[in-house]
């Protein structure tokens, strides 16, 4: 244990472990910690008073300090206390984004997740709905699992604008006061969530892949990939409500739709102030000629760099169609122009969660892997036994896909007939 010139046992940062989050910098009561040129925290031993605060708060254990780690206990106590301080908020709410005349798939997926969370908290599921004609969707929301639906119907809400929707949703949340608010991490959801969180002065965690209730504190634990999916962070929001989170489509699973389910639907008044709203000049839906939404298929045969060949497509297509699936691709293939960008799987393409993912010549860069991790089964066909995708594959076939796939087509047919 190093001592400084005053004989105080000081803390030290382990540079290899530090992720440069600066939480210790903020916590240090004497300002002894600074980020160095490499983005790693450094403690000035002569300024350090050996209080161990940095040790307690470091999320990655990058502080070396001679002290019993009190963090677990104190964090727990702190959370319990905090949860009491924000009483008066109840229920798991979902913002129901519209898709055409109906609710979007991501909304129902979030309602499914909200039911699980509500179960853990012994509370209700609330749906928030904005639009000009959406009572039918409200009844759908009940069928998918909402106990209460709060809606604002207004001709001025027929078109999404940041300002009008931001105002309307803020008002609804303010009146209903849910403890949690989930929204789809779509273009609209992300645009809207930032407004509502800022207006309500509460915490918002983007693109969560896991949501849980902390057993001790009842707080929502929000886990999300960060640093381009290289690490996961679990985040909580202690003193502010609602605890807000956005979730990408296809990450959660919708529950059972039950048209007989009962729930209450409440309408809220809202006066729209047209002033200052943008004016829609043009709106174009760009649907590709083939109109394929790869996220909707139970089977995806995904062409990677190793199968970036126009002549391979019919073969992949045949395998996919055999099982009711579609052909998709990784980024290099989309960039080569062989398949359109709509078919691209990955961080810059679509997140998919088919029952069966078959990667053909896909190496499995991290940006691709995070976008397919929701798949039920993953099969990888690759000539390279070291390909990263094999680390997450349930089955790996090592070899030339032009030989393997015809054989697979043959054998799958046999299995279907038997």
């Amino acid at each position: 244990m190093p001592k400084n010139s005053k004989g105080i046992e000081v803390a030290e940062i382990l540079p290899d472990q530090c992720i440069g989050c600066q939480i210790c910098v903020a916590e240090c009561p004497v300002g002894a910690i600074e980020l160095n040129d490499e983005g790693v925290a450094e403690i000035d031993p002569e300024v350090c008073i050996g209080c161990g605060k940095c040790y307690d708060v470091c999320p990655v254990g990058a502080v070396s300090f001679q002290k019993e780690k009190a963090a677990d206990k104190s964090a727990k106590e702190k959370k319990e206390k905090a949860a009491e301080g924000v009483s008066g908020y109840e229920g798991m709410a979902v913002f129901i984004e519209l898709d055409g005349d109906g609710g979007s798939d991501v909304a129902w997926e979030l309602v499914g997740k909200a039911r699980e969370l509500a179960q853990a908290r012994q509370t209700k599921v609330i749906g928030f709905l904005l639009g000009s004609d959406c009572k039918k969707v409200a009844r759908e929301a009940v069928a998918w699992g909402c106990d209460e639906v709060h809606l604002m119907e207004h001709s001025g809400l027929s078109q999404y604008f940041s300002a009008s929707y931001g105002e309307a949703l803020t008002q609804l949340v303010d009146r209903v006061r849910p403890e949690v608010l989930l929204m789809g991490a779509t273009h609209q959801g992300r645009d809207l969530a930032g407004i509502v969180a800022t207006r309500l002065n509460t915490g918002l965690t983007a693109d969560c892949t896991e949501l849980d209730i902390d057993e001790d504190s009842g707080l929502l634990l929000m886990t999300r990939p960060t640093f381009g999916g290289n690490i996961m962070a679990t985040i909580y929001c202690e003193k502010h409500r609602p605890q807000m989170s956005t979730v990408r489509p296809k990450v959660m699973q919708a529950g059972e739709r039950d048209p007989e389910r009962e729930g209450t639907i409440r309408e809220h008044e809202w006066e729209l102030t047209q002033e200052g709203l943008p004016q829609l000049v043009e709106s174009v839906s760009e649907v590709s000629a083939e109109e394929v939404d790869i996220s909707q298929y139970p089977v995806l045969v995904v062409a990677g760099k190793g199968a970036c060949d126009e002549q391979a497509l019919p073969l992949l297509q045949e395998l996919a169609e055999l099982m009711g699936g579609a052909v998709a691709c990784s980024r290099p293939v989309a960039e080569s122009g062989i398949l359109p960008y709509e078919r691209q799987v990955g961080q810059t393409g679509k997140t998919v969660a088919p029952k069966l993912y078959i990667g053909v010549g896909v190496s499995g860069a991290i940006q691709h892997r995070v976008a397919i991790q929701g798949s039920e089964k993953i099969m990888a066909i690759n000539t390279d036994p070291e390909a990263a995708i094999l680390q997450i594959a349930d089955v790996g076939l090592i070899g030339d896909y032009t030989r393997i796939i015809p054989e697979m087509i043959k054998q799958v047919k046999e299995r279907m007939e038997s």
Binding site: T198, L204, A206, G228, T234, G399
Partner: protein
């Protein structure tokens, strides 16, 4: 016109790797860069100044070494830059970050009325896309996220028209100034920096604004002003990889064994093979 660019210094995430032995980030050799979406925002800002005259300001919040991205912005053509750096800013989540950036925009507004705030749609390290809407909401200005093109800006009627990307297409919106525009990569292709700019950027003294300079409420800054806290950080749990089969010259056996493994769960097999 006064255009303000909000910048972020980010690690080049494509280079960040996990050490499989220790399960920690390998940081050595990972360069810090200007967030690529922000670079596009600076280019758009400079083009607007070239069209309409005025001034391009750029700010970033971060530790002292973050001034590197301000020099990048100057090299691209920004007229003035400020580093927002203060111990009190450390540990900020998106809510506290948007407050700090908003205070900077406010201060720049005192110099010359800010017409447009430009930023990247998101940063490549956090991917949250929350800071832009946060600043727009605090400023109470038009919010135009995911922009693929600025069609025109009319300083006289104080309006702007943009092309915004939607989930399945795009829309054109006409909105009032001031506005916040967040950039998709298509918005503008950054130019090669002219040599005189480059030299100027390397020689420039970068002024620093702290919390007091901006008149910021310390309760709303940094960790203190952040509702969200990080409980833990971990590497994604690697899934136990399944068996691998060597296909070789005659793949029939490998395929047979592979399919056997894949379809051993009868429910799963039924769903896919019987339809």
């Amino acid at each position: 016109m006064h255009v303000v660019c909000l910048l972020k210094q980010v690690p080049d995430t494509a280079e960040v790797r996990i050490d499989p032995e220790t399960n920690t980030l390998i940081r050595t050799g990972v360069e810090s860069i200007l967030n690529p979406y922000d670079m596009v925002a600076v280019e758009q800002a400079v083009r607007l100044r070239e069209q309409h005259g005025g001034m391009v300001s750029a700010v970033t919040m971060g530790p002292p070494q973050a001034e590197a991205v301000l020099r990048d912005a100057m090299a691209q053509g920004a007229d003035q830059v400020y580093l927002l750096s203060d111990r009190a800013f450390a540990g900020a989540d998106t809510l506290a970050t948007s407050y700090t950036l908003f205070k900077a925009v406010q201060k720049l507004d005192e110099q010359q009325t800010v017409d447009l705030v430009l930023c990247g749609k998101q940063a490549i390290d956090g991917d949250t896309a929350q800071t832009g809407p946060g600043v727009a909401t605090r400023k109470g200005c038009s919010q135009l996220t995911y922009c693929q093109a600025v069609d025109w800006v009319d300083p006289d009627s104080r309006t702007i028209q943009v092309k915004r990307k939607l989930q399945d297409g795009f829309e054109r919106l006409k909105a009032e100034l001031p506005a916040l525009v967040s950039a998709e990569l298509e918005l503008a292709t950054p130019r090669r920096c002219p040599l005189p700019n480059l030299i100027r950027s390397l020689q420039a003294e970068i002024p620093v604004w702290d919390a007091d300079t901006m008149g910021a409420d310390k309760e709303l800054l940094g960790l203190k002003g952040s509702p969200t806290w990080v409980q833990s950080i971990f590497s994604p749990q690697p899934k136990e990889p399944g068996p691998r089969f060597q296909a070789g010259e005659d793949p029939s056996r490998a395929v047979s064994e592979g399919l056997q493994t894949l379809f051993q769960d009868e429910d799963f097999a039924e769903k896919l093979l019987k339809h």
